[in-house]
Amino acid sequence: MIEKKGPETWQEINPGCMVFRKGSASEYHTGSWRAKRPLWENEKCIKCGVCYIYCPEGCITEQQDGFFDANLDYCKGCGICAHECWPGAIKMVNEEE
C-alpha cells in the first residue's frame, strides 16, 4: 500500500471532494502498477526525443547528456515509447528481471 495524505473521516472530505493543495496528484505514484519498464540502449539512441513526446504520462525527461530516461515513480510501463522509438533503442523488460 502506498502511503498517501488524505482525509481520515467523511467529515474531513471537502465538498465535492475538491482538492486545494497544489500538485497533489504527484503524490500518487502510478508507477506501482507497472509490470514492464523501459530500458534505453544509449548506443542506439539518436536523441530525437520521440519517446519524450509520446509518453502519455509525461514521465520521460532529457538527461544532462542529451539521452532520455523515465521516472519510474510514474511510468506505468505502457510501452508506447518503445513502440515509437524507430532506431529501436528502447526495450521493455519485465520488472522481475
Binding site: 498517501k4 467523511w10 467529515q11 472530505i13 465538498p15 471532494c17 486545494f20
Partner: protein, 388 residues
C-alpha cells in the same frame, strides 16, 4: 407584487430562470421541453440577460458543459425530458458529487418504448438515486416559483447541490395558465448573486472531479448523502422565506382536507389538482377522504409523511412510473418502506396511473378511492384502467 400574466408554462419556466439572471444556459431541445430551450435561447439572443447560451450536440454534452460552466462559478440552467434525461444520466451523479448547484427544468415525459412523447414520470424515476434535489410542481405558478427557489436552495453554502424542477410534459408545459410573474427587484431581494464555494480560475488552485480510491470513496458517498439529507432544512427555510415575501406556501408534503380523513390519495405533479376535485366530490358524498401532494421527492420528507398520515387508515398511492418486477411503483415502495417502523400505520395500496399520457379523470380518482377503502386491491400494484 408581481404581474398576473397568461403564459405558457414552458415559456414561464424560462422566464423564471431569466429573473434569476443565469450566466449560462446549456440546453438541447427535446419534446415537450423544446419551448424551454427555445425561449432561453431567445432571452439570451435578445440580450435580456447577460448570459451565454451553449448550443450542444446532445444532452450528455448539455449537462457536461453546464458543469464546466458551473465549476467556473457561473449560475447555470439546463432543461431536458425523457430520453434526454436518460442520456444525461451518466453525468447526473457527477454533478451532485462535485456539488455544482445547477438548476434543471424537466418536462416529464414517458420513456420509450414503445415510443411515446406524452407525460408520465418514468424519466425522473431512474434518476432518483443520483443525488439531486427533486421538486415536483402542481401547476404553472409552482413551476415559476420552484425554479427561482431552486437556485436559492442549491447555491446555499449548507447545500451546494443541483436541483431539478419537475413539471408534467404537455399537461403543464404546453398549457397557458394565469401566473403571477414576480418583479425583478423582488427576485433580486430573494435571490442574492451566486457566490461559489470554489471556482476554477488561473489565479486559484483547485482540483475538481478528482479520483476517489477505495479508501476514500465510502467517505465521499457518506459526505454527499449527509449533504442531501440535511438540505431539507434549507428547502423548508427557503420555502418559509418565499411564503413571507411572496405569500405562496410550500411544504414538502402538502395536505388537502386530511384533518379527519380516513383514506387519502397520494399524488406527485399536476394530477394533484384533478385529485383535489375528486376529494371535494367524495366529501360531498360524505366520504372521509383527503389528499397528500408530494412536492419534495429528494431528499424524501420522512418526518412530514409521518405527520401527514396521522389518523389515516388507507393510503392510495398513485405512481406515474413502473418499477418492472419490483414491489410496486417507486413512490409506493418509498412510502411503504417509510412507514414500516410506524406503530399505527395505514394500509397502502398502489395504482399506476396516467402512463404515457393516459388521461386520468376526476371519476377515475373517485373510483380509486372507493376501491382502496378496503385497504387491499387484487394485485400488489394495479395498472389502473388497463384493458384485458
Amino acid at each position: 407584487m408581481g404581474k398576473r400574466v397568461g403564459m405558457e408554462v414552458a415559456i414561464a419556466s424560462a422566464e423564471a430562470a431569466a429573473l434569476c439572471k443565469f450566466d449560462v444556459a446549456s440546453v438541447y431541445p427535446i419534446t415537450p421541453q423544446s419551448h424551454v430551450a427555445e425561449h432561453l435561447s431567445d432571452i439570451v439572443a435578445d440580450g435580456r440577460v447577460d448570459a451565454s447560451f451553449i448550443t450542444v450536440e446532445s444532452e450528455h454534452s448539455a449537462l457536461s458543459s453546464a458543469m464546466g460552466a458551473s465549476a467556473t462559478g457561473a449560475r447555470v440552467v439546463t432543461a431536458t425530458s425523457s430520453q434526454g434525461l436518460l442520456f444525461m444520466g451518466e453525468v447526473m451523479p457527477i454533478t451532485s458529487a462535485m456539488r455544482l448547484p445547477i438548476v434543471m427544468i424537466i418536462a416529464n415525459r414517458a420513456v420509450s418504448g414503445p415510443i411515446n412523447i406524452w407525460n408520465d414520470h418514468s424519466d425522473i424515476m431512474p434518476m432518483r438515486d443520483t443525488g439531486w434535489i427533486s421538486f415536483f410542481a402542481d401547476n404553472g405558478q409552482e413551476v415559476v416559483d420552484m425554479v427561482i427557489q431552486a437556485f436559492k436552495v442549491g447555491e446555499d453554502r449548507r447545500v451546494m447541490l443541483p436541483v431539478n424542477v419537475n413539471m408534467d410534459g404537455f399537461q403543464l408545459t404546453h398549457v397557458v395558465e394565469p401566473i403571477i410573474m414576480p418583479d425583478q427587484e423582488e427576485v433580486d431581494r430573494f435571490l442574492p448573486p451566486y457566490k461559489p464555494y470554489a471556482a476554477l480560475h488561473p489565479d486559484n488552485c483547485v482540483s475538481m472531479g478528482t479520483l476517489g480510491m477505495p479508501e476514500f470513496y465510502t467517505e465521499a458517498q457518506k459526505s454527499k448523502d449527509v449533504a442531501l439529507v440535511n438540505s431539507i432544512k434549507v428547502v423548508c427555510e427557503v420555502w418559509k422565506e418565499w411564503e413571507q415575501q411572496f405569500g405562496r406556501k410550500y411544504e414538502p408534503i402538502q395536505t388537502y382536507r386530511t384533518e379527519d380523513a380516513e383514506i387519502a390519495l397520494v399524488t406527485m405533479g399536476s394530477m394533484g389538482e384533478t385529485a383535489e376535485i375528486a376529494v371535494d366530490e367524495l366529501r360531498r358524498e360524505g366520504v372521509k377522504v383527503g389528499l397528500l401532494k408530494i412536492k419534495l421527492w429528494r431528499p424524501f420528507p420522512f418526518d412530514d409523511l409521518k405527520k401527514a398520515i396521522k389518523g389515516i387508515k388507507v393510503l392510495a398511492v398513485t405512481d406515474r412510473a413502473c418499477s418492472f418486477g419490483g414491489p410496486g411503483g417507486p413512490v409506493f415502495s418509498e412510502i411503504r418502506s417509510a412507514l414500516y417502523d410506524v406503530p399505527k400505520k395505514p394500509k397502502v395500496v398502489n395504482y399506476l396511473i396516467g402512463l404515457g399520457g393516459r388521461d386520468v379523470s376526476v371519476e377515475n380518482f373517485m373510483d380509486m378511492v372507493r376501491r382502496a377503502a378496503k385497504g387491499k386491491l387484487k394485485e400488489p400494484y394495479e395498472f389502473y384502467g388497463v384493458r384485458g
